[in-house]
């Protein structure tokens, strides 16, 4: 409603008009997200310049950064469906990611029809896209399997089950009995402790399927030379291309979950989060909704896991410790549980500042501050006490920033819990409906009317009614 006033004022005052227009633009979630990500990129580019990075390193830096922004945002979005919307306390995110990527790996790896050499394991040799669908479906099915008994439990016990299940998954892939098996003539397996080598390349596979691999390779050669990216520029372009693929998936996740949220289905999920018994008393079969939402979220987590690990070259069980689950939780809490846009923002901020940030800052500082950090905590503390000289301490902290990463995350989490438990956007009213919920009387035939211009009507209507 204040937006309407600003607009009116703006007609007389061009400066105010521009500001109002900018404010209105900022109201658009897409603009917010774009602004945030571009801001992060700019910061990293400045940092890269301070590190004397060349073009190739800068591009790699951004591609790498965007990879983590993309995967954490996607995983936060999936978790938001569980926790933010339905109130399902899932602390087994990594387990569903593992199911996704392991299934994809087993389905897509080159088949081995004769006993392979020690240490190598075959797969079923399916095309990658089919294997990805298989991985997503497996994660969903596994989610359903967990949900059937677990959703009967109270919220806290449900959480324990999910974290337990994610550890069971990890121990299962670690199990030497499943390391190598023969199924229908194929030598397949989960690789045990040494993991699986992913002998597929998502970007190459995609380009080959599109028939673009040849022109793409030629393009990387010429563009690489033009941008002086050094020899063998293809990996750089590959990571950029993968970033683009992630962006497409991220937009897909975002649109999908917004639609889920702003629908009667999402409304029931929110109601379950608020009070399941009251929701049941209104005739909603809450169990069905919970299972559907849980399976759907698990499918998305599976896809997130596939996108996360498919380009890592190999997967080992140690990558699937619960730690990553909590990273996703931190991202969601920063962004604000319950908000779709907030989840993406949280993912971006977590990836840029908490996940990649410490190491990056350490590098930047060490590059630019010309002194050596002391080796031990004692050596750092004593000048602080004896001579009130904080620099050895600061250098020591910077030097160990990578190791302090988890401590920093913990501090941020404690701060947020105390001062802003709703996160960045968790306080926002995102009304769960496919349509604007303003009084329809005068705008029955224009459902697309913007809330800003529509916003005045309920007040008018309310006045006349009273």
């Amino acid at each position: 409603m204040s937006g309407t006033n600003d607009d009116a004022d703006g007609k007389d005052d061009p400066v105010g008009g521009v500001r109002a227009a900018a404010e209105q633009l900022w109201e658009e979630d897409a603009v917010k997200l774009l602004g945030l990500i571009l801001g992060i990129f700019a910061l990293y580019l400045v940092g890269g310049a301070l590190l004397d990075f060349g073009a190739r390193q800068q591009v790699n830096l951004l591609a790498n950064l965007f990879f983590y922004i993309g995967v954490f945002a996607m995983l936060a979005l999936a978790l938001n469906l569980h926790w933010g919307y339905t109130g399902l306390f899932n602390i087994g995110v990594i387990g569903f990611m593992a199911i996704g990527i392991y299934t994809t790996a087993v389905l897509a790896k080159e088949p081995a029809l004769t006993e392979p050499a020690a240490g190598s394991i075959g797969g079923f040799g399916l095309p990658l896209w089919l294997a990805i669908i298989g991985g997503v479906l497996a994660a969903a099915a596994f989610g359903g399997l967990v949900a059937l008994p677990a959703l009967r439990l109270r919220a806290d016990y449900f959480a324990i089950v999910t974290v337990g299940v994610s550890e069971i998954v990890r121990f299962t892939v670690l199990e030497s009995d499943f390391q190598k098996m023969q199924i229908a003539g194929y030598f397949v397996g989960l690789g045990g402790g040494s993991g699986l080598i992913l002998d597929f390349d998502p970007t190459d596979d995609l380009l080959e399927a599109l028939g673009l691999l040849e022109p793409y390779t030629a393009f990387t050669e010429s563009a690489g030379a033009a941008l002086s990216l050094g020899s063998n520029p293809k990996p750089v372009f590959d990571s950029l291309l993968y970033g683009l693929i992630l962006l497409v998936f991220l937009i897909g996740f975002y649109v999908l979950l917004r639609r889920v949220g702003n629908s009667p289905f999402g409304r029931v999920l929110k109601a379950i989060r608020e009070d399941e018994e009251a929701t049941q008393s209104l005739g909603k079969n809450t169990r069905r909704f919970k299972i559907t939402a849980f399976m759907f979220g698990c499918a998305l987590m599976g896809l997130g896991g596939i996108l996360f690990f498919a380009v890592q070259g190999a997967i080992t069980p140690s990558a699937f410790r619960p730690r990553l689950t909590f990273f996703v939780w931190i991202a969601l809490i920063i962004g604000g549980a319950g908000s779709t846009t907030g989840s993406v923002m949280g993912g971006a901020i977590f990836a840029a500042f908490l996940f990649r940030g410490p190491l990056f800052i350490k590098n930047v500082v060490q590059q630019n501050v010309d002194s050596d950090a002391v080796d031990t905590f004692g050596q750092a503390v004593s000048p602080l006490i004896s001579g009130l000289d904080p620099f050895p301490m600061l250098l020591f902290i910077t030097d160990n920033l990578q190791q302090l990463q988890l401590v920093i995350m913990g501090l941020v989490l404690i701060y947020l819990m105390h001062n802003r438990p709703e996160g960045m956007l968790g306080h926002r009213k995102e009304e769960a409906s496919t349509i604007s919920l303003n009084r329809p009387e005068r705008s029955t035939d224009s459902p697309g009317a913007t809330p800003a211009t529509d916003g005045g009507e309920p007040v008018d209507g309310g006045d006349t009614d009273e």
């Binding site: 009667p264 289905f265 929110k270 009070d275 009251a278 008393s281 319950g338 009304e431 919920l437």
Partner: protein
């Protein structure tokens, strides 16, 4: 109605006075029923609920007539809320049966009961606090096609839902107007006052298009002026044909507004009848009012 009488007899054989009372009342109701035939949507037979060794409800038998405003009263621990929970599917009765519109509903899940048109409100209003008033309202209508995940997501199907949503939205605004809480439409339900919550809860229950409403202490914690408004709404709705069963602590309120009163005490049915009959029943006076009535 004869089975109602029989139920009281078998479950309270030691209370001679009560049997007489019940039988007298029984024939009276039958008499009345001959003149004004009314359906009996809700019939509770020999309802018994045990929690471990505790018997919370020990043989409740009663029926609620169509279009009536029936009160269920009793002191604390009389088993009123447990009876309510057994009717609405929150608890599964240990023994006995609940029939709603000719169908046995005992043991059904709460949502199945609600979907059959028997909808409850809660003693402490249970708003969905971090949802707006309108979201609360729009949640309620039954059988929304948009409650299917795929229909909400897929492009072609989603536009079909939007038409349905527009219709529901209109109904919601109408209902909010009726309860005069339309100015709160975009407010979080958690920000409403106790009385406004009760109004919202009743409005929300009505959005499910029920035939009968079970109100669990709808007037507790409501200020007198809002209480009056709420009562007005209840009477208005009853005239429209809704059936009400109200659990209430406030004896005067029930006596003034209900046409039929059921009294429970220590998990048993004490008596039932018109407010006058109940008020003059010595057992009721003794058990419920501690001998201090008028």
């Amino acid at each position: 109605m004869s089975d109602t009488g029989a139920g009281v007899e078998t479950n309270a054989p030691d209370a001679d006075v009560e049997i007489d009372e019940a039988e007298a009342h029984d024939s009276e109701v039958e008499e009345a029923a001959k003149h004004t035939p009314r359906g009996v949507p809700l019939r509770v037979e020999g309802l018994r609920k045990e929690f471990g060794g505790i018997v919370a409800v020990d043989g409740a038998d009663f029926a609620v007539e169509e279009g009536s405003l029936t009160g269920l009263i009793g002191p604390n621990g009389a088993g009123k809320s447990t009876t309510f929970n057994c009717i609405t599917g929150v608890h599964e009765p240990t023994d006995g049966a609940v029939h709603f519109r000719g169908e046995e509903i005992s043991g059904m899940s709460p949502d199945s009961v609600a979907n059959r048109g028997l909808v409850r409100t809660f003693q402490i209003a249970r708003e969905l606090e971090e949802m707006t008033v309108l979201e609360n309202m729009m949640l309620a209508p039954k059988g929304q096609t948009g409650e299917s995940l795929w229909r909400s997501v897929l492009p072609g199907l989603r536009s079909g839902i939007m038409g349905e949503e527009r219709k529901i939205l209109e109904d919601c605004w109408e209902m909010l107007d009726f309860f005069e809480i339309d100015h709160l439409a975009h407010e979080y339900a958690g920000n409403l006052s106790g009385g406004q919550r009760k109004l919202l809860e009743l409005a929300r229950a009505l959005m499910t298009d029920p035939t009968m409403l079970l109100l669990d202490e709808p007037f507790a914690g409501v200020n007198p002026s809002l209480e009056e408004r709420l009562l007005e709404h209840v009477h208005e709705l009853r005239e429209e044909g809704y059936t009400f069963l109200i659990v209430e602590h406030d004896m005067d309120l029930i006596m003034e507004n209900c046409e039929h009163v059921i009294v429970m005490h220590q998990g048993r049915m004490l008596t039932e009848g018109t407010p006058e009959e109940v008020q003059s029943n010595e057992q009721v006076i003794e058990a419920y009012l501690g001998g201090e009535v008028e």
